[in-house]
Symmetry: C2
């Protein structure tokens, strides 16, 4: 199978010039699409993740309907928690629930080692099927949650506003925090390497909630672990995208964690963010997902604002600052792709 190193997405990941700016969307396969909702009527979210044929079908839905420049495998950032033994459930409208949260030394010791090939092989199978079905149309991205985001779900038992239980473990028992993060890093590295072996041509690490921390906490409790995972994955040769939200005040630290591409949210102007990490650093972002609900002329103004701030510099992948929201009009997603592809720098 060809490596597609000359596609505009992978070229942009390496900071090389491209003919047309690449664009894809986090959560581009999901509830805003009718084809997805139809399938969701017959299967639970986890069934779709666990069944390679279904995950493949969902992954391909936006590839068929939209002119995106990359596919991302349909999965959940938290799938590695299942074989670790915490449980993982999705309750309607309430997001992930972890039935057996990890809060004590005993809880951490009880976490099981994971053999990703065996226990998370369904993701690898889906990656193989998608690669085969796409037949080189666009590159395929694999992904998982970053160490902090995974641990925060494990500790809190689900989503959280203040992440207090997580922070208390950091502050009160830094040795437990280290022990838990070490275990999660090991699983993540194994799991994501398995994805590359199956055919993922890039990886994205989602640190969706790390923005609840201040810079010194990030530096002490997060950076070393994210860095370890990213470095281990870079050994595979595929580009790694370091995604986070709410980290605009500590971008130089996030850059230290590494990654071939840094992905920003919309809380900072793209040029300010890029300037902070250096224009030789490939980046991704950063339209506010809510903008997609606006009328087309408003969307156009905002898309062009991002494109103008990026200027004609190589190494920019157009994306949102976070995932596509549930009721986003598909036509508006299509329109953004066209705007990006048709935009010409003077």
């Amino acid at each position: 199978m060809e490596n597609q190193n000359n596609t505009r997405f992978l070229k942009a990941c390496r900071g090389e010039p491209v003919d047309i700016k690449p664009v894809w969307f986090m959560r581009q396969a999901g509830r805003y699409m009718k084809a997805y909702r139809d399938l969701k009527e017959k299967h639970t979210f986890l069934e779709m993740c666990h069944t390679p044929e279904l995950a493949t079908e969902v992954t391909l839905q936006p590839i068929k309907a939209l002119e995106v420049d990359a596919a991302i495998i349909f999965a959940d950032i938290l799938l590695p928690l299942e074989p670790m033994g915490t449980g993982l459930e999705f309750t309607k409208g309430d997001g992930p629930v972890i039935p057996r949260p990890v809060r004590s030394r005993k809880d951490i010791e009880n976490l099981k080692p994971v053999n990703s090939e065996e226990q998370l092989g369904f993701v690898g199978d889906a990656i193989r099927m998608v690669r085969s079905e796409m037949n080189g149309k666009v590159p395929l991205i694999g992904f998982a949650g970053a160490p902090f985001t995974l641990c925060s779900y494990m500790i809190e038992g689900g989503k959280s506003r203040d992440f207090t239980i997580t922070k208390v473990m950091m502050y009160e028992t830094p040795d437990l925090w280290k022990q838990l993060m070490d275990k999660v890093c090991t699983v993540l590295i194994d799991y994501l390497k398995m994805q590359v072996k199956a055919g993922a041509q890039a990886l994205q690490i989602f640190d969706s909630w790390v923005g609840c921390l201040g810079p010194s906490d990030y530096e002490e409790f997060i950076l070393p672990y994210s860095k370890r995972v990213i470095q281990a994955l870079q050994e595979t040769g595929v580009p790694v995208i370091n995604f986070s939200t709410g980290t605009s005040t500590m971008l130089p630290l996030v850059k230290q964690a590494g990654g071939d591409v840094m992905s920003f949210d919309w809380r900072i102007n793209l040029d300010d963010a890029w300037n902070q990490v250096g224009f030789d650093q490939p980046i991704q972002g950063n339209l506010d997902p809510s903008i997609l609900f606006a009328p087309i002329p408003v969307i156009r103004k905002r898309v062009e604002d991002v494109l103008k701030r990026a200027r004609n510099r190589p190494g920019h992948i157009f994306n949102l600052g976070h995932g596509i929201l549930q009721h986003t009009p598909v036509d508006h997603v299509k329109a953004v792709i066209d705007m990006v592809h048709e935009y010409r720098y003077e």
Copy 2:
């Protein structure tokens, strides 16, 4: 009644040197205190807000138990919504619910004008009672939500993660947004001036959720309204504290909205934030509320970090970056106050 202009809190608000650094906490009257929980067993949250005797009792609980340098009237940021006609309820553990959300032109037109003296007079009564009971011990702060935060609750109907309905109103129907914000500004100015007339010696405007927006949205849709409210309130002569969270990437814009004091969250180092708005700007902040759950030595390290970053510059009020969290140990709150008061710069 004396104006207490020489208290360390009010001096710091004006950027004047103080003997000992002032400290108070957002939500210093609340669920983490046993005296509060005991009262809460007998009354609902809104009953306590509506009954001046109860609001007074709760306001004074931390003044009796802790050596804080300011009191803040017990109330809710959303109280002005009740006389506007949207309704306001607090469901157990779920935060505020607005039974009649404001989403259409008709909804906005139906909002009622408010006579704060008559309809929110219970807050004024509580302020008068607290001033009288405290008898000059520490100054009293009045407050309300900022225009954006109030409108976001009105539009979403409660708390939100993405604020999409709010943002869509901004982008799709900017004239409706303006109409709603205008109405909310009028009510807020009337309500907060009433608080000053009743005896509030400083005011804090809580823009708790404005950090969901990027800089250009803030500039276009928020700044003019926050500025209008703050300027109108400054005419009363009391200092106005401009509080927001998640705005570390747009502090110069937040400064344009005005305020005698700017209050930062913990997502940025205090000295970086202060430097961005100029060291002649009095500031407040910025310990992470979660730190209060840590062991005392960890708390001490973090408190001293904030104090060192502030240096010996006049115009710093020590506070958290957001309100005290529910299960915070009271002893830890006390310890922080002592640490701040006992700290000596070289």
